[in-house]
Symmetry: C2
Subunit: 383 residues, 2 copies
Amino acid sequence: MAKKVRRPGAVGEGTHGQDGRLTDTKTRDKIEAMARMVVEQIDRADNPTLNIPVRSLSNVAFNEKKGIIEMGDGKAARPFFDLGNARRFMQTMLMSSELLKLQQQHKTTSIRDMFYHCKHTIEGAREETFDEQEESDPVIEDLEVTLGALREELRIFANPEGSMVGPMTIRDTGDEIELSRMGSGGWAVPSIVEPHVIQFVKSEAKFILLIEKAAIWMRFNEDRFWKTHQCMIIHGGGQPPRGVRRLCHRMANELGLPLYVLVDNDPWGYYIYSVVRQGSINLAFESSRMAVPAARFIGMSSFDAAEFDLSASVTIRLNDKDIVRAKEIMAYPWFADKRWQREIKHMLKQGVKLELEALSNKDFSFIADTYVPEKLKKRKWLD
Amino acid sequence: MAKKVRRPGAVGEGTHGQDGRLTDTKTRDKIEAMARMVVEQIDRADNPTLNIPVRSLSNVAFNEKKGIIEMGDGKAARPFFDLGNARRFMQTMLMSSELLKLQQQHKTTSIRDMFYHCKHTIEGAREETFDEQEESDPVIEDLEVTLGALREELRIFANPEGSMVGPMTIRDTGDEIELSRMGSGGWAVPSIVEPHVIQFVKSEAKFILLIEKAAIWMRFNEDRFWKTHQCMIIHGGGQPPRGVRRLCHRMANELGLPLYVLVDNDPWGYYIYSVVRQGSINLAFESSRMAVPAARFIGMSSFDAAEFDLSASVTIRLNDKDIVRAKEIMAYPWFADKRWQREIKHMLKQGVKLELEALSNKDFSFIADTYVPEKLKKRKWLD
């Protein structure tokens, strides 16, 4: 049965922009409020100062209860009248003013574009506002945490990568798109999938299968796995980009869909799963809007080679880097669960890793016809 | 006016497979013919021998008349009863037999999958059929040239990358898709876009704009450039992958659409354009089905900084690698035209390169509102 989906998030928060598209005024308000605060400081003849949340490891912790990596409350002052801070203060104000223009013009752009957009020689000086993009990127990150706005809410996109198909109808920038009629290519997941851009119109999906590799996703699409199993299949071309993670988060939360993650059996596969589940240290401030703590690791597991009787020919010996990384991962508090310790220890003991492609040694469609269906049926996953 | 598009290529060449999808029996016939030839050699008690076209630089030339890079007639014998060739002969026969299964099962897969699929310990020996993927990839390439079949016709896909939107309706694996209603994400261009997979149903497009970078494509999509200018916009996330090149080739040839290429102004941008136009040395045997000799280089040109009055702030000094590469490119016979020599010399003389994003220094939408429209209007391109 198709279920009508309530229009999420955007409703109430958004308004219709000039272009008829839903827009989000929340972020504009936040930028303006920050600017007003600085003006007031100047009016009071105070030293204009921004308080920027600290984005280093020291200010990050794993919240066991919520199951996500979170940023703490640490902040650092950035005063204007201070030799070490004046340039960065100027850059922060310049960048916020240009970000506000993006909001007003209902446009989105890339961090590289913002660098070029803001770069100029300061009038009457021989100084550039920004010398390198390495200077402008952290300023955007500062503003994300200071304003409490996701990069997507600032209307900054990352390179899109990834595709999705399945029994669902969405609305993307006003276009209604039936994701069950997308051929072999699928719908390209954009970088910004916030509620004012993407709305869920109708869904018959029972779960989401997030697949690490594009090539494996193509196998599942060609075999119409999503039809047989009534699910969404999505990939992000390796480590899933922000758009794919955010979309999984939204589908899990707004549509109540369980999320299964299918990755290679190696430390990098475990890591991809962990970022999807509880976020990463670098982007801790976004976990609550990106992570899916209920995500299930459906494979490949280090026990699969024996379980599915795979030939030793298709396993690959762990190299030194794999072993070091596996041990690091075992030490993360979010892998402390004894089933995870057992999983990773077993990989180290066997001394080999396994790629999803190895399953094709059995048959081209073994992965979609047998492997995943059996895992689902026997409830063989880790979470 | 929408024009109905005749169903290309596939009709006549294809038949309906078990799954109701159009399939291509041509490639299956070619594999079987090769196998039959080997069996006949064995029946005659000859030394079974394959003649494999040579894929090295020595066997490649630029065909000025056709405007594409082509492979010559050089072939090398691969006899079975020969110590240096026996293993490779076995691998070639094994791989063709498994490629035939792909044809029979109407499936597609990746080169990595084929490696795993074919890998096993030879019965009664301690030898593996393939040790590394580095061994199986060249065997697939050998078969492409020997059979005269594109990789896509062998049903082998590459990682898909890239998106397309515009006033066109296509059929992809049976699904009719309106490319003017694809929201912000677009239709993900699959790796295999052969006529039995993708058919052009209806087109109102007047030209194709191939954009180097995903981020810039998003600007053109957000600004609905394809609507205002009645064109297809497509990107391949950097160097366009095979699917994107082949699709541009098909649209240019079957629909008669001019192709404009928009890249950074640096040696790598020139090179991307040249691969789109006449193919590459490595893949010379595919040029006739991938290259678009009439492709137009619409920018960025080394004369654009002055032409569009761009700030010196947004240019980047050429580094040593850029300079070496630019000189190499100037020496290619396909850049011998004096307008191209002038273009590249001017870049070297200015000593700077320019990224597409640099145009956003003027305004976020300068590139889509002013730059490209002006180039088109004034017919300022190179070909």
